[in-house]
Symmetry: C2
Subunit: 160 residues, 2 copies
């Protein structure tokens, strides 16, 4: 389902504190699965229009639209790599690179529950140490999701 700003206006009803929910705001940008798969491809080293098109089989006009949105959102930057002929590629910004935590979490959830042996492994580059997306407290301890609570923050509706 396409969720546009208009339908999000329905999702985020004015009488609902969720209208200032960062998950909803993030999903408004990352929107459809093409977009998340394009970002995933970027983490796999793809940068050029034709690389994304070939790997995803996404129609050219859709891919162009999604790349434009990712640039507008500051997740990708468009960088020239040739002047004659003019050619550019799409690189993750620092903001885009931070999305990797969420993508690794989605991947590892799928690994545990859907995939059997993991199709890909994410590891620390310098020594190949396996890594895990996890919830960490300020004291460095890993926190089980069952031990979490969600409370209104300073940006909540009606907060001082």
């Amino acid at each position: 389902m396409q969720v546009t700003r208009a339908t999000l206006g329905v999702v985020l009803r004015r009488d609902y504190e969720g209208q200032v929910c960062s998950i909803a705001r993030t999903l408004e940008i990352l929107g459809d699965r093409w977009t998340l798969l394009i970002v995933r491809d970027s983490f796999l080293g793809r940068r050029r229009f034709d690389e994304f098109r070939q790997s995803l089989g996404v129609p050219t006009n859709v891919l162009a639209d999604r790349l434009d949105r990712l640039v507008a959102a500051g997740i990708f930057e468009r960088v020239a790599y040739s002047e004659r002929p003019p050619r550019h590629e799409y690189r993750l910004t620092a903001k885009g690179t931070e999305l990797r935590v969420a993508l690794v979490a989605l991947m590892q959830w799928g690994d545990r529950h859907l995939s059997g042996p993991p199709p890909r492994i994410v590891r620390r580059r310098r020594d190949g140490a396996p890594v895990t997306a996890a919830i960490v407290a300020t004291d460095g301890a890993l926190v089980d999701p069952r031990e979490l609570e969600s409370v209104p923050g300073p940006g909540a509706r009606g907060a001082p």
Copy 2:
């Protein structure tokens, strides 16, 4: 955009190792934003059909469909809480609860880049310690997303 199994068949081309990608498989289940927002609501303590409907403003038939899919996927379980009249609610399973890592990662990315002061804060229940979704190596060290690499795993196409 609605991504059905048919269009995913295009996304995951047979000549592409990504066809065994756990991110794509996870997104096939979590699909549209309604579904992720329903799961988010569940983490906020909502369990009953009317609670989801009121908080999200989602049409009744859409909500019923998404809840059925979440039950079929083993993310929610349907539990009777009244026999007369028959009433049930939707509770996260252990598998569903593990999605919280990805949702906290999406929320905190939005907090940092889209929202200003955080609308909600996730913390450890027993002491209120703030928590962060992060990438952790086997030695317990936090790993910057730029220091990660992705390599084929034992479930990769053509792996032994």
